[in-house]
Amino acid sequence: MDLRMNGLTAAVIASLALIACAKKEEPKPVAAPQPGPAVAAPAPEITVVIGHSAPLTGPQAHLGKDNENGAQLAIDDANAKALTIGGAKVTFKLMGEDDQADPKQGTLVAQKLVDAKVSGVVGHLNSGTTIPASKLYSDAGLPQVSPSATNPKYTQQGFKTAFRVMANDVQQGRIIGEYATKQLAAKKIAIIDDRTAYGQGVADEVEKAVKANGGEIVTREFTNDKATDFAAILTKVKSKKPDLVFYGGMDAQAGPMALQMNRLGLKMPLLMADGGCTTEFHKLAANAADGHYCSLPGVPLEIMHGGEDFKNRFKTKFNTDIQLYAPYSYDAVGVIVDAMRRANSVEPAKYLPELAKTDGFQGVTAKIAFDEKGDIKDGAITLYQAKGGKWEAQATLGGSPVDAAAAAGAAALKEAGEAVKAAGEAAKAAGVAAKEAAREGVKEGAEAVKQAADAAQQAVEKK
């Protein structure tokens, strides 16, 4: 015992000595030039670091990396523009961290980003990491834009720094429920969710909306986000004979689920929220993919300004397809950079008010505006149907008239100028005209586009 104590004493003396040394060196890092945003720096060049956090290992790593890639592309684009903010030439840099979708790691990463004095944070991917981290960002006055956290509580905590560019569960669930009962005319609906914060959240809202619209929930079944076998719950669903099955969860389950529905002889369509709205779904569901529906906040990439271009550049740069939320994290970086430019400052305290005032930022997912809580305002939601290995836009619901008109216009465009290039271009010009009309608050925007499209079609026929 005594011997051990002596050993300990020696160790402690040694460590105290070390600490003393550390203390002496302490002023050094402070004196050294900080790489962070030196605000009033006379230097013409500054580096602005944007933090990013998502699970890069573990079962959701593919989504996390996708988010990071989206953010990286936005950073590269911002750098390509060679922006000057506050009189200095700005170079953006992404600091990507791995939170393993674990709430504890989420706060560790948050603290690391706060310590590193990043200028803004894009993330986290999951609501479970976003919420506890948001408190740390709020305490540090650091703006946080989540590309994919959908739990309504995130923006209801009263933090001025919390934003998201994704429709929350309530916004999305309401529209899905409406679409299922009205457009798809389903009376009896079965709901399955994966018992994650995301799946359960959206499924609960869909249930409410279906009931509010006079639909009936015939059964609610559950699985988990690591499951591959759904035979038991699908067999039970079959016995309740629903017109439609809603699944709240990710594509990794939704794909095999669609396949197994086919095998078990369930002929009704499967409706999914954003988690199933991926290209992977078609591969995973193989020959059973066609006819199912999904919804995605925002307007289809093919239609949005620069959307198609974004898709192609993403593919060339990272040599992989967009998994899911990359366009949203791209936009999340976009709104931050945009706010910095408008505030003419990269300092969080200065550009935060401008960020909150974001209204009509042209992203690849939608025209982004924040409401007073930091949620996306009037988030448009587009519904798609799987046809021949692709998601085809069916309808864009909710959202501002601009979005709706743009979507309707684009849909008309597709019908009109599918084959002939010249006609398509003419219609595009018409689409722009229609957009301007809509901006003035005219609902007939969509009509105008359709007329333009008709005109285009006639032009085609004449040729």
Partner: protein, 374 residues
């Protein structure tokens, strides 16, 4: 073991120095390399508490428990329910503002309830040994997690997978630990304040386990670990003593859970998965089962190592090869896995095993090698 006067004095000096070192540690670390490291240390202290609790079950009593994190979850959820507006949603008439009990009431209650859960787990598993016990405890841990994940209906008790938000921060004597406080002109960030609280709790836990180890109960646990039948023959009530091990271990988990909930101000079921149980078990085994300083070392190492790797994975590659070859996240986990393997290969009894274990192991090895021959 009273030593000579000089030795005693040296021991006192050592104790005082340790105290000073622990007191200034967050300041040095925080101001020197950043508050994120103080947060890492905060979590390390929580894990040390957990590891010491599990050590009672696994290390002292020799009962392999793979569902230990359930008690942590029980403590955390109890704190969350009793210190947040959440219950107002389920019982709007009864509790319009939710429940906001003070921490000194919630933590002991958390310990008690977790202890009861410990007995609940222990009772049906008394006859089980080894791997059968492991799988049942694993199942128990999963059952608790699944219930937490699903008890948002029919009555919204746990808010399901969404987790409970807006949990009150821990307050001590009217001082909220989640606000920066100024003491003697020194501004103390919340992570420092929590550090001192966690440190105090950890020291208490260490004190209790050290006393337990040397007590009648502690010796009974070790006797059961070494040979249950012989222990029974010596008049030890193996049933009660085993249940006590589960209950005591669970209590520490409950306290740590409550602290975790107050620290994070958010709990959700994903924090209490099987991997967390495995991680705590790794701490105990890696450090040196049944040896308190070893377990503390194990907890500290495994909590800090992934963070060191997080900070180091990219720069080290840069320094070694001039570019980043493997992506830092996978390298981080890869090195973590390798570390687990290597430590066990080179120190199979743990990094800092007790003298008895070391001797036993050496004897077993010599015997085996002798029998097997060259």
């Amino acid at each position: 073991m009273p030593g000579s006067g000089k030795d005693k004095r040296l021991a006192w000096v050592g104790a005082v120095l340790i105290a000073i070192a622990l007191a200034v540690l967050p300041l040095v670390v925080g101001k020197g390399i950043g508050n994120s490291w103080v947060r890492v240390i905060d979590f390390a202290l929580l894990y040390i508490m957990l590891a010491l609790g599990l050590n009672i079950v696994v290390g002292f009593a020799g009962l392999l428990d793979l569902g230990y994190i359930a008690f942590y979850a029980v403590g955390a959820y109890l704190y969350a329910l009793l210190s947040s507006p959440h219950l107002a949603a389920a019982f709007p008439d009864l509790l319009p503002a939710g429940v906001h009990w003070p921490v000194w009431a919630v933590l002991p209650l958390g310990a008690l309830v977790a202890g009861i859960f410990g007995v609940l787990l222990g009772a049906p598993t008394l006859r089980l040994r080894g791997d059968y016990l492991a799988i049942v405890t694993l199942g128990f841990g999963e059952i608790i997690r699944i219930f937490l994940n699903n008890l948002n209906a029919p009555v919204n008790l746990t808010n399901g997978p969404q987790g409970i938000t807006q949990i009150d921060p821990i307050r001590i004597g009217g001082v909220a630990l989640d606000q920066t406080q100024t003491v003697f002109g020194l501004s103390l960030h919340p992570v420092y304040l929590y550090y001192y609280l966690f440190l105090a709790c950890t020291l208490l836990v260490i004190f209790v386990t050290v006393r337990l180890e040397d007590s009648r109960i502690g010796r009974a646990w070790v006797a059961i670990r070494e040979d249950e039948i012989a222990a029974k023959a010596c008049g030890i009530n193996t049933r009660n003593v085993k249940l006590l091990a589960f209950a005591m271990g669970a209590t520490f988990g409950g306290v740590a859970g409550g602290l975790f909930a107050g620290f994070q101000e958010f709990v959700s079921p994903e924090s209490f998965g099987l991997l967390e149980s495995i991680m705590v078990l790794c701490m105990v085994v890696l450090g040196g089962m049944g040896h308190i300083p070893g377990v503390i070392l194990g907890g500290l190492l495994l909590a800090v190592l992934p963070e060191v790797l997080r900070h180091g994975a990219a720069p080290w590659q840069q320094a070694l090869f001039g570019k980043v070859i493997l992506d830092p996240e996978s390298l981080r986990m890869l090195l973590f896995g390798l570390a687990l393997i290597l430590v066990m290969l080179y120190r199979p009894a743990g990094l800092w095993p007790s003298q008895i274990r070391k001797r036993e192991f050496a004897a077993a090895k010599a015997e085996a090698e002798g029998e097997e021959g060259p």
